[in-house]
Symmetry: C2
Subunit: 125 residues, 2 copies
DNA sequence: ATAGATGCAAAGAGTTTGCATAGGT
DNA sequence: ACCTATGCAAACTCTTTGCATCTAT
């Protein structure tokens, strides 16, 4: 039932080759290099179905709209550059988070977002 | 320059007396009990200025639109119960987050959200 | 009296949906 | 040939802004 189209292939290719989670707009811009004329509605529709089929995961950061990255990545967090607004993967994890919650609470999952400047936006002097 | 109006006072009162961060819609609904006819634009305008004057802080959780709570709380994180959907404050903090980012990156701030079951929703059986 | 604040409605920004057509199988 | 996927535009939701009016000082 899932057909292979140039648009869908381009969207997957763009996300799979990205080193960081991409916004729908970034995906559209990159996909246009592969398929001229591709529209935003197609991006959104494919993102939705690719998430449903577990090919992609949604990256939700506080106060941000959704970004998307390939599934199958190991547990990681994100670094949000306050200057260029790009989001990077952070593979380190503080761990020991189970103990942070009040007693009686069970921690199943956690999300950590770091904010600051990425290497390309290092603080000017 | 900042005048005291019934609308602004109502908005502050609603947030200050809340036990949890409130969405703009919740704030509007509650404020209508104090000032009939108050509009959403007034809520947004006041939220913005109250945040700028540090009377309120924005609570951003992944995938959620902004909520607002009184400022003056110390640094804390949030526990989001996956069962009852309530959000609790978590005052513990893992610390040592500066070292998690890739080299060349500067960490200025962080947000941590824990997901699981709160004490009232403890795993059945 | 004056300048900031309000309510309404319209404008934006981001995302979703309806519909006719293109295109995979 | 069939039926899904696409592109466009309109619809929707959330938030912001323009403007005439109101109101706290």
């Amino acid at each position: 039932m899932k057909r292979s189209t140039r648009q869908r292939d381009a969207i997957k290719a763009v996300i799979d080759s990205a080193q960081r989670p991409l916004s729908p707009q970034e995906i559209l811009d990159d996909a246009k290099c592969h398929v001229e004329g591709i529209g935003m509605a197609t991006v959104y529709r494919n993102l939705k179905s690719l998430v449903e089929s577990n090919s992609l995961v949604v990256v939700s950061l506080p106060g941000e709209s959704a970004r998307y990255e390939s599934s199958g990545h190991t547990h990681h967090h994100h670094f949000h550059c306050t200057h260029c607004n790009r989001v990077y993967d952070v593979h380190e994890c503080p761990g020991k988070l189970l103990e942070l919650a009040p007693s009686g609470f069970t921690v199943e999952r956690h999300e950590l977002t770091l904010y600051g400047r990425c290497d390309q936006c290092a603080q000017p002097h």
